[in-house]
Symmetry: C2
Subunit: 217 residues, 2 copies
């Protein structure tokens, strides 16, 4: 069995928007969008949401997706803008260690794509590496680190589009929220754009989101 | 977090039948039903079906359910009729070691409910224990063996009904097949019977089965 590259629990609006334009991201607005928590509410309501601190939560359809987050995952790849709002060289920003506090929810090596060098560091059982290269090269590094397990492609949207353009993605789970943003960075104009290369199950959830499950033909 | 008791990937017909009547089970007819493989086809088509031997298989909605089979499970409880077609004392039948060959798909301790004593035995990384007692007592043994993980209630249908009657089940995933049997052992007349105690998500799959996801209120 080969090592898959998987997009999991990636959330977009009904018009395909996953983040604001590049200049809209800031420390206060990690997604550069108004009220992004409305898009994430379905995931936060589940029992298996990785950031859940209290017991409880739903165990219906949506929970299968949040529960699957760690299944057989040995590494994550993310774009620099998922890691933080900074741009350019790190120099003054090397104390930035991501949005996730001392216990990041990844628990594997994480490869952050950036043109700007920075030493690796470890928080709890997550180690962040800062790497430059084309998607295929970085996937190769992540696969090696994953030691036979699958690799999660964590986003953001620009990074996912780069890996889709390079035809390196094996499966995608995209949760489409009923919310509409009108402008911002889009994953797609329509999910139909991927149908030539992927099978697609479209699964409406009682929570209001519609899960889109793609796997390679 | 408490240890859940979970029914997973349990399959019934559209009229709630999961097995033939008691006397209809035999070595040749483990389910005592005509053509039960038609009810299981959705699961066998997925990439994560535990018994899959060749690569390939679908990675859409149905695969989330088969993929979840081992998630945080530390023990299984099953009725004697899931373990084999024999009735009464084991004496001549102690060479029967289940339907699953040398590599059973459980990989945990399994507690087989029976009034008839028999020594435990191990096949690969699955150990079968033969235990007598009411559901609460057996669940206690299984929880201890599961070492903090959840316990799977594997069936058959009579066993699941016993644990439901004792109000010990926390979550159920029941896949309802479009097939109708008319007679046999039923899980329910209607899934609505469980709505007083459980939340219910009803999720139609493109494969034709309808997943019913219950979790305790």
């Amino acid at each position: 069995m080969s090592q898959l590259l998987k997009v999991q629990n990636f959330i977009v609006s009904s018009d395909g928007v996953a983040a604001g334009e590049d200049q809209d991201q800031s420390l206060e607005r990690p997604f550069g969008l108004d009220g992004p928590e409305r898009m994430f509410a379905w995931a936060g309501a589940t029992a298996s949401w990785p950031n859940r601190t209290d017991p409880g939560g739903s165990r219906g359809l949506d929970d299968y997706f949040t529960r699957d987050f760690h299944h057989n995952i040995g590494a994550e790849i993310m774009g620099r803008n998922k890691f933080g709002p900074q741009r350019g060289p790190w120099s003054e920003d090397e104390e930035w260690r991501g949005w996730w506090g001392d216990e990041p929810p990844f628990h594997t090596p994480v490869f952050v794509m950036t043109h700007h060098k920075r030493p690796s560091f470890t928080l709890s059982d997550t180690t962040f590496h800062f790497v430059e290269g084309d998607p295929a090269t970085i996937l190769e590094q992540a696969r090696e680190a994953a030691q036979g397990k699958d690799v999660r492609l964590g986003g953001g949207v620009t990074t996912i589009r780069e890996f889709l353009d390079a035809d390196l993605v094996d499966t995608l789970h995209v949760a489409v929220s009923p919310l509409k943003y009108g402008s911002g960075l889009r994953l797609w104009e329509s999910p139909d754009e991927l149908r030539d290369r992927f099978h697609l199950d479209i699964v409406p959830s009682p929570s209001g989101v519609t899960h889109h499950l793609f796997w390679r033909k």
